[in-house]
């Protein structure tokens, strides 16, 4: 009977662990499948992209967030709504470029690396690279081409994890002729 008691509260934490563990198993498998870390990074980015282009629909439906007027607003929505919703964290936004087209997301604790240590022979592995792909894919679906990369990573001994996002251009819709 005592087993029944404590479960309800644990359940929320468990489902985020399910994601973290599944992601870990995926990275481990990719490290076995590919010979060098660069290929694993590329594969993670690609998979992230495919997730991002689908996730954006779920996000828009769930969050009822409207159109963003500038990149600053986009940054806010990503950090305060999207990260909160899917990973349960709120990264801080810093290091804006003077032109306002580049910023950093600072993750104090990255749930993807909860149980992770990088072995010495994988020093160029970007463990959480999936996130870059997700952000790139999701923003592409709302007509924004962005560059996303990790510049700091707690797994590599940095104090925080930092994702750098750079606005590249607006993607214009090319509607087929005769359609509005």
């Amino acid at each position: 009977m005592s087993r029944q008691a404590s479960r309800g509260t644990e359940s929320k934490k468990m489902s985020s662990e399910l994601f973290t563990l599944t992601y870990g198993a995926l990275v481990t498998q990719l490290c076995k499948d590919y010979e060098n870390d660069e290929d694993v990074n590329k594969q993670l980015d690609k998979m992230g992209y495919n997730i991002g282009v689908r996730l954006i629909e779920d996000f828009l439906a769930r969050s009822s967030v409207g159109r963003c007027h500038d990149f600053r607003e986009t940054a806010d929505v990503i950090a305060k709504v999207a990260f909160k919703m899917y990973l349960g964290i709120t990264p801080s936004i810093t290091n804006w470029s003077p032109a306002g087209d580049e910023f950093s997301l600072i993750l104090e604790n990255n749930p993807l690396v909860d149980f992770v240590e990088l072995p010495d022979n994988h020093s160029s592995l970007i463990y959480s690279n999936l996130l870059c792909g997700v952000l790139r894919g999701a923003l592409e679906m709302v007509q924004m081409a962005v560059d996303v990369k990790f510049v700091q990573d707690t797994l590599k001994g940095d104090g925080v994890t930092e994702i750098r996002m750079k606005f590249v251009r607006r993607i214009e819709d090319n509607l087929p002729a005769g359609e509005e």
Binding site: S15, L18, D58, Y86
Partner: protein
Amino acid sequence: MTRPEMADEALFLLLHNEMVSGLYRAAEQGEGENGRCITKLENMGFRVGQGLIERFTKDTARFKDELDIMKFICKDFWTTVFKKQIDNLRTNHQGIYVLQDNKFRLLTQMSAGKQYLEYAPKYLAFTCGLIRGGLSNLGIKSIVTAEVSAMPACKFQVMIQKI
């Protein structure tokens, strides 16, 4: 607060789908053998199952017997991972258990017709591993297979290996 709780589930479902299609995509491009995909997915599930059950049972009372463990898998474990319980558990009392889920979460996004039936196995391999990994950390060695006859219902058969 119920909505955000559903949200990380969406992320898991998308990740799982992408794991399946990513592996198969790589296999088609000759970066691995096709037949190995199911095994790889099963192995990934196994690792996750081991990790989950370890965290999940750390404060719980000792299980009474094998059936008690299976009930735990069907109720608590399944609810955590798939947000519902197994609908039916049957056993021959000789080490074979059949877990039936009438609306299996990883199949509900697919069309329910016969059209995609042949693609179902690759979406079940991870979960077979998940069950096997969970049981393995509770000291039960098993073989887990799955079958689908009408989507999105599916049956997992657990064969306990006596040591």
